[in-house]
Amino acid sequence: MSATFKDFRNNVKPNWCPGCGDFSVQASIQRAAANLSLTPETLTIISGIGCSGRISGYINAYGLHGIHGRALPIAQGVKMGNRDMTVIAAGGDGDGFAIGLGHTIHAIRRNIDITYIVMDNQIYGLTKGQTSPRSAEGFQTKSTPAGSIESSLSVMQMALTAGATFVAQGFSSEVKDLTSLIEQGIQHKGFSLINVFSPCVTYNKINTYDWFKENLIKLSEIDGYHPSNRIMAMETLMKHNDLVMGIIYQDKEKYSYQELLNGYSKEPLAYSRLNLGRETFDNLVAEFM
């Protein structure tokens, strides 16, 4: 019997503000999991700290809500330990692009087969409205009362230059598209990065639902756009100031870390027999004699 959307629901009521973009991200993950016939036991969601980080607690699956900025290394550890597990990492723009940016870039480079979903609201929600690396120049927040004078980080362009094999962008209002992006991200063999514009209705009065609706362009509507073309991807991002939706780039050829790793067990490491045989052990000892 395959699982349904309902199987991924638990009885925990999210403590997000009504209207928060993160609700749709949660629903999209649940739908994608059901569409892919996953079961709650075979899905693990690792989340960071922030409003968005709570997401792992609202989905009926295995999950770990860790520390600020470290969702990715934890998620990579889970996947390495159990290669049969579907692993999703999730968190906010501060989590992934400020305190955890180093991990994001290196997870991209490493290309372990997990899916990373960032709920990008261009602000720090949980700490009540400070600037984020995704905030636009001039954006006024509690920590930038005179407007941010730092430039906003183009994470999609950054991901491309870091060697990403799957880069996509979604929007909380477009649940169907977002669900499909998540499905494709999970199916991608390698690291998939999905940045989701997920409005914070409480602290970000600029980048609102309406603002995104007005400014976002669907890649599917751009004539001749092809996500296998990295140069086209870069040009399109630059031209539209990154405000695009869809799969921006995908490299279907490149092998994932696990596929390339020499000697890596075909069986999940989590189930290995731990005891070494006597002979194996004695041989290791003999090497020091």
């Binding site: 520390i67 470290r70 159990n82 180093g102 070494l276």
Partner: protein
């Protein structure tokens, strides 16, 4: 004939000092001698004085020596830096090439042997270390044939000719010494070894091998001195067992990746030194709060900050015990020999699984990089225990979704643990305070229940022999306390003090946290004076003993934080001061 010798080779880093020591040591431990090697090196790759000090003995040795018997010098600096440590009747064998000079104050005899020339005449001056090995063997009267199989192992792959010329280099070094210096020197002739086969390894080898024996399949780590050898060994070995080492982008990733892997059910760990451990502190708290097993090795080096990265120190003790915010259960083990380092690693993984908490294995540079001979590790002593981990599908159907009590408030505080993939064991884990089912909860009553549950776990911690004791005396004049690699220096100082008629007991602490107060209290109570021997500037171990046991009025410490390991004589001399002072008040 003598029972113990100290042999030292010195020169510029990158000149083959390492391999000279290696070859010499290999022949000796295969003859059944006990060895203790310690390298002095600076944190540059080429250049800078380096030396390798090897103690050879017919009995167990666990410390560097007070004096050197034979010094092999590849440059004048080696003589200038080390002649002070040579004993009366000691010898220097130096390369004639640099026209070695024996300082006026030197008590030792200098022999110049043309290492470089003999080697160059045989084909390449690279073999000068072989000539030096030959000359030292002649002085000590070691038959040269023992070196043949070793040279074969080292150079066999490079072909018969290379093997042949290296053997010739050894022979000609010996010939020269026999001819020009009169051959074997009686005071340097070693009594025969017992012929027993032992392992010869650094502490980091033992730690890495211990991890494999414990069933580790994943190590995530970031390189740092003096921990890197652990990952280097495992990079080679883990793929043979289906596992791997991942070199992460930093230590926060290393620690959290290990947490993720442990959460998934695999045994994983990381290793670093002070700077890395500082970066890992938040992760250690996550492991404590989420009750996810985590083993971390800290190979202490000179701190603070970058400090003395290639030098001995034991100054992370307090940071390892207390260095996380909030209250968590945590275990800190401090092995004192390579043998303990091996078995303690296995035990660290067992404790982490059984008590579902972080375990820190605290090594120090002297233990991690010092090379010791040790009886082969015993397969039958390896025991793997995983506590309340459930990985099969034996759990009953849950009544309600997400109701598995991962954090059940049990009597011993340890709750059942399932891993992703386990049917009917599905639960959520969070570093936020949570209830029995793992759901966030800030309720005051729940907070108390969960905090008490976590901290209660270690009340039932079982650890065999948390303190090594050598307590011959009922009411000793002196109790010496140490931890980690200072054990040998303390033991030798003790023997010297006993010869002077001072009664001394020794307690070497293996389990630093939770502190073995019950074991330590009577020892301290019965001693007239207590001296804590440790490698740091603030007396961290002494503070710990005072905090947990007391004894402030009769306790003092011997501190060394100049980067070099204690010599037995240093401990002895300072103890004499304490005992003398006491017996004269």
């Amino acid at each position: 004939m003598v029972k113990r010798l100290a042999w030292k080779v010195g020169g510029q880093q990158g000149e083959g000092i390492e391999s000279t020591g290696e070859i010499f040591a290999k022949a000796l431990y295969r003859l059944g001698y006990h060895l203790y090697g310690y390298r002095h090196f600076s944190s540059r790759i080429k250049g800078g004085h380096t030396n390798n000090n090897i103690r050879v003995s017919t009995e167990k040795v666990r410390s560097i020596s007070d004096e050197i018997d034979i010094l092999i010098a590849f440059d004048q600096e080696t003589i200038d830096v080390n002649f002070d440590d040579l004993r009366q009747d000691g010898i220097i064998i130096a390369d004639a090439k640099f026209k070695p000079a024996n300082p006026n104050e030197s008590k030792a005899k200098l022999y110049a042997v043309p290492f470089t020339k003999i080697a160059a005449d045989l084909g390449t001056s690279l073999m000068k270390n072989m000539v030096a090995v030959g000359a030292s063997s002649a002085a000590m009267g070691i038959p040269l044939e023992y070196f043949h199989p070793i040279v074969e192992e080292l150079f066999g792959r490079k072909g018969e000719k290379i093997v042949e010329s290296n053997i010739r280099a050894i022979e000609q070094g010996a010939d020269y010494f026999n001819r020009e210096a009169g051959g074997r020197i009686e005071e340097l002739a070693l009594a025969p070894g017992d012929g027993r086969q032992r392992m010869y390894m650094i502490g980091n080898d033992a730690i890495a091998l211990g991890a494999i024996a414990a069933g580790v399949r994943l190590m995530s780590a970031y390189p740092i001195t003096p921990a890197s050898e652990i990952m280097e060994y495992l990079i080679e070995k883990l793929p043979k067992f289906g596992g791997t080492v991942i070199q992460t982008e930093d230590e926060m990733a290393a620690a959290t990746m290990a947490i993720g892997a442990n959460y998934s059910g695999v045994r994983a760990f990381t290793a670093s030194a002070g700077p890395g451990l500082s970066l890992m502190t938040e992760s250690i708290g996550l492991s404590g709060m989420t009750e996810t097993p985590l083993v971390i090795v800290d190979t202490q080096r000179g701190g603070p900050s970058t400090g003395l990265p290639t030098k001995q120190e034991q100054s992370d003790i307090m940071a390892m015990i207390y260095g996380t915010h909030g209250d968590i259960p945590k275990v800190v083990l401090a092995p004192s020999t390579v043998e303990e380092a091996f078995y303690d690693m296995v035990e660290a993984f067992n404790i982490a699984d059984e008590y579902q908490c972080p375990v820190i294995v605290l090594s120090d540079l002297q233990l991690s990089l010092g090379k010791q001979s040790v009886d082969p590790f015993n397969y039958d002593k390896i025991d793997i225990r995983r506590g309340k981990l459930i990985i099969d599908d034996s759990l009953p159907e849950l009544e309600k979704k997400g109701s598995f009590k991962r954090y059940e408030d049990t009597i011993d505080g340890v709750s059942p643990r399932t891993i992703p993939g386990t049917r009917n064991g599905l639960h959520h884990v969070t570093g936020v305070e949570h209830n029995e089912a793992g759901k966030p909860s800030e309720a005051a009553s729940n907070r108390k229940i969960q905090m008490d549950k976590r901290l209660r776990k270690l009340n039932s911690l079982k650890f065999d022999n948390p303190v090594h004791t050598n307590t011959k005396h009922e009411n000793p004049d002196l109790l010496l306390i140490g931890t980690g690699s200072t054990r040998g220096a303390i033991e030798e100082a003790m023997t010297k003090l006993a010869n002077d008629g001072v009664s001394v007991n020794h307690a070497h602490i293996r389990l630093l946290h939770p502190f073995p107060a019950e074991e330590m209290s009577p020892l301290i109570e019965k001693a007239r004076q207590v001296v804590v021997v440790e490698h740091n500037a603030t007396g961290q171990l002494e503070s710990l003993v005072k905090l947990n046991v007391g004894g402030r009025d009769k306790m003092s410490s011997i501190l060394k934080y100049d980067g070099n390991p204690f010599k037995p004589l240093e401990v002895y001399n300072q103890c004499k001061g304490v005992v003398y002072h006491v017996s004269h008040v």
